[in-house]
Amino acid sequence: MSQAEVTMGSHSGLMEEPTFSVPAKKMAMWLFIIADSATFAGCLFAYGFIRNATPSWPRPFHGITNVALMTFILLTSSLTMLFGVRSAQKGDKAGAFRWTMITAVAGILFAVLHIREWLAMIEEGATLFHNPWGTPLFGSLFFSITGLHLLHVTGGVVALIAVGLRYQGGRYKADDLEITGLYWHFVDLVWMFVVPLVYLLNLAH
């Protein structure tokens, strides 16, 4: 075996095809999404377990207007994100930046509505360790699950603004915008499960 073959052999790992033909950065985001979906699944399972084992679970939500509006905004922000990525792939830098910023504004609007919802709950006496309608576990689970999601939305907004600005400045490419978009769609996907389990199942009839 020649020296060249030995050298190539020892570095053959560097020449490997990317896993599933997905670039490394995108694959890293997918692995994060898989891990994070396990985190949310764990939280929602714990919620289901406790709700099932508590006979007098409270149903404090009287209206759906706020949560319906929040859902509409978040779902629409996924569409604007898709438009942003498509614009970037076409090479329309201004369009991509505009759609990304619209997505970030939708995220901010969602967070504001979310905090308004929280403040209304706190005003009624519900906190992380107290619940005026019965078991204190309701407050713990409601604030921790929705709080974890709100944390993800906040992180997503920061990421969208940072990546959008850097894309506009030429430091990032369309691929980077697409990867941020993947995260944003994931945040949207999680909300699709949080709404029915945490809000709609606890609607007062």
């Binding site: 599933f20 033909s21 997905v22 997918w30 999404i33 898989i34 979906s37 396990a38 699944a41 764990g42 399972f45 289901g48 377990f49 406790i50 099932n52 084992a53 006979p55 759906i64 319906a68 859902t71 509409f72 779902l75 629409t76 996924s78 569409l79 898709l82 438009f83 498509r86 792939q89 076409k90 993947l182 769609h185 994931f186 949207d188 996907l189 699709m192 499960f193 709404v195 029915p196 389990l197 709609l200 199942l201 609607l203 009839h205």
Partner: protein
């Protein structure tokens, strides 16, 4: 219109169609919330709708549909974790019915 522009335009149309479908499914969840059914029936119906919504978002918004290998990788790992979590339900029902302080 060039082929790339045509492809992009078709893709954008598909995105809007999927978005409308997801929005409609979300609307169905809100309708289910007002049905006069038991909590367990409501839970099952809402969960089924949420899974369809999630699958649409995964396949078309996150473009998992276009990568067969990655699709199976994500589905198998995620479903395995979610199925693994289900072991605890029996204990949840035990707390409800099988302990001395149960109702």
């Amino acid at each position: 219109m060039t082929t790339a522009e045509d492809h992009n335009s078709k893709g954008a149309k598909k995105d809007v169609i999927v978005y409308v479908c997801i929005l409609a499914l979300a609307g169905i969840q809100f309708l289910i919330a007002y049905q006069n059914i038991s909590a367990s029936q409501m839970f099952v119906r809402m969960l089924v709708v949420a899974i369809v919504e999630g699958a649409l978002a995964l396949l078309f918004f996150m473009h998992l549909w276009e990568n067969r290998g990655l699709k199976w990788f994500v589905v198998i790992f995620t479903v395995a974790v979610i199925l693994g979590l289900q072991y605890g339900w029996t204990d949840s029902f035990r707390l409800l019915d099988g302990v001395p302080w149960a109702k």
